[in-house]
Symmetry: C2
Subunit: 409 residues, 2 copies
């Protein structure tokens, strides 16, 4: 008998019919002999409906009150799911974040979990109940309701699994697992049986929208085995786990890509200590997040400095940098929002030379020029012209042996 | 400077526009120099929407979970109202029942308030905030969310006013006060400036739907001055207060009436100890509430016994009584659901003889026969044929000097 925490997102509980289906899946898990704690999000559309109400009254609603408002979304779901379980003769009890006492800091709308009191849940489990917990929400030390921010229900599930020392945390979603790359772009994309936390983090931050990144960090930190499965199809999903010796270690596990970045280059900057700080400081002050940063070696006391930002921030960032560049006597500022980023991710990369050169050769063979490169221990990212993004992803997917074999699903 | 608790019902906060209007009324109260605590209901229609969701999943939802569900209705309103206040530069803070700690028993959906912790509210008031509290809800000792039942927001407001020793508890509603009788029936019905708690209790229980009866009981018990006002029109409303020596004491204050009752008479019952118990015990066992009960003096060892029930329970009650009557050897059972009850209410009645005779004469002058009479210290009720109900009410309204003078509002 295992203790399993399951999490169902907004789409999975989007109607009363779907809530009943979730109740049936939970009962099936119990009948397989497991204890179950389930974390649910607000019914899809509900959070937006509540935010619309708030905006109708106050375009800049106070954060404390916005959390009081949107936290009702999950509270509705927990009550309905508990009712669906009870109707089927399965004892159940619902808990809001405050009722569990999921203690967070007071950063409304983006609070972080500090502690979870698992006593009441353990008691309910020992008395044979399914425990239904509202995701995405907690309570601060003063008793104020907080929310963890969008997607925070994943974090709630992982944190509960850690606090309860659960055997597995299962995230039910509308995809059946983590793929080698986006199946909409590469039709031979393959579902991974396993992936490490680190790989998942790199894939998540690069745009795979399966799991919230903080949940993966949390799971890695507390070593909670995490599984992504489909609410609507049967299947084993993808297990996200620690790197193991006996784990099959492919060179790379997946290919992420992203067309939402734009790059800004400052040419001919006098190469003095502090240039990165001078250029990026002004950008950071404007609350613009920077992704890749590249600086080349200096020639004749001048250097070139390039970084990328989200395309939404491109115009604003360009304006700021042009001002800074003029002040520091740089030669020119160039910008380009028609770029795409391709990232290879894999723990296998650590112990294998040649991943980078193979990547570059594969892109060159397709006639794709690389504009920018950055690397981490388990990731290599290359920026290319946007129109070559999909071609590049497909070529690399084949070159690194990720394609699904013919005839398999 | 006074401390005022205001309560706004579902219609008063039914749209975001109306919530903004309430915010403006609160700010006006503050600008008049008062501290304000405001209790709000769910937006009109919201509680029913939530109950529909529950019924779609479970026709008999567990009471605990139903309270978790419906309590989200007021939680939405408190957040929105606090946002509306803050937008206008008025510092505000919202509280759910659990956050205040409105401690109740664990009778889900009909919980009773046991204690209120007013510390946090007092602190907020002293720091210049308007405190916005969710009506209708509380929390039990285990931390489970409870609700006080429909209309319970009035009770929340009165209980808070008592705990805070507020100077006045103002119930905003869609009528502008308590009337001498229903203005839809008697166009000369007059708004009362003042009425006593006892009178209000009799009027409320007899069908005037202005205030929830438990709230009036509570206000009387803790001597909280209670005022009923209109959300939508200006005016002083009606103050419900203790009987005072200098209070103008009209013979009667108001006339209530009710056409939702039916009467059942058992004729020729052997007059032995326990006959009332025998007849009514079986009715009570079926959870049928009995209103008026009349038993006449015995002649030749036989007596007649009559009582009234709600018309919804009439068929069931009649069936039960027929069975009991047969067992106890009564002669006959008669029933009549075409009756109406008229009740005169007034504390002045205590010290004035002749109210009853004036009532009976007035009805007789109109040719209305009285079928049944019962009295209490401040009330006389008469049952008449239903078709004479409105005629009787109008005649009595004039006879007892309640008519509004021509030309006044």
């Amino acid at each position: 008998m295992a203790l399993i925490v399951q999490k169902y997102g907004g789409t999975s509980v989007g109607t009363t019919e779907r809530i009943e289906k979730v109740a049936e899946k939970l009962i099936a898990t119990r009948e397989a002999g497991h204890d179950v704690v389930v974390v649910v999000s607000a019914m899809s559309g509900e959070t937006n409906r509540l935010i619309e109400l708030a905006k109708a009254i106050n375009p800049r609603p106070p954060a404390r009150e916005l959390d009081v408002l949107v936290s009702t979304g999950e509270q509705v779901t927990i009550a309905l799911l508990a009712m669906a379980l009870e109707k089927r003769g399965c004892p159940a009890r619902s808990y809001t974040g405050a009722q569990v006492r999921i203690l967070t800091d007071s950063a409304y709308s983006k609070a972080r979990i500090q502690d979870i009191d698992a006593k009441a849940i353990r008691k309910d489990l020992s008395e044979g109940r399914v425990v239904v917990v509202a995701g995405f929400q907690g309570v601060d030390e003063t008793g104020a309701i907080t929310t963890l921010g969008r997607g925070g229900s994943d974090t709630t599930a992982v944190a509960l699994a850690a606090a309860l020392k659960a055997d597995e945390c299962q995230i039910y979603t509308d995809v059946d697992g983590v793929y080698t790359t986006d199946p909409r772009v590469v039709d031979k994309a393959r579902r991974l049986d396993r992936i490490t936390f680190e790989e998942m983090l790199e894939l998540a931050s690069l745009g795979s929208k399966v799991l919230q990144i903080r949940a993966v960090e949390f799971a890695g930190k507390y070593q909670v085995p995490l599984r992504v499965l489909s609410t609507f199809e049967e299947g084993p999903g993808t297990l996200i786990t620690l790197e193991e010796d006996n784990m099959e270690e492919p060179l790379i596990s997946g290919i992420a890509f992203n067309r939402d970045e734009a790059k800004i280059t400052v040419l001919g900057v006098p190469d003095k200590p502090g240039i990165a700080w001078t250029i990026l400081g002004a950008v950071a002050d404007a609350n613009i997040e920077v992704d890749m940063i590249v600086q080349n070696i200096s020639t004749e006391g001048l250097t070139d400095f390039t970084f990328t930002v989200h395309t939404n921030d491109y115009d604003r960032a360009l304006e700021i940098v042009q001002k800074t560049a003029t002040e520091m006597g740089a030669r020119e500022v160039l910008g380009n929002s028609k770029i795409g980023k391709i990232s290879l991710v894999g723990v296998g990369m650590r112990s294998h030379a040649g991943v980078a050169s193979k990547m570059f050769r594969t892109l060159a063979d397709e006639g794709i020029n690389i504009q920018m490169i950055s690397t981490s221990e388990i990731k290599i990212s290359a920026v290319v012209e946007e129109k070559y993004l999909e071609l590049g992803v497909r070529a690399l997917h084949t070159a690194f042996g990720l394609d699904r074999e013919e005839g398999t699903a």
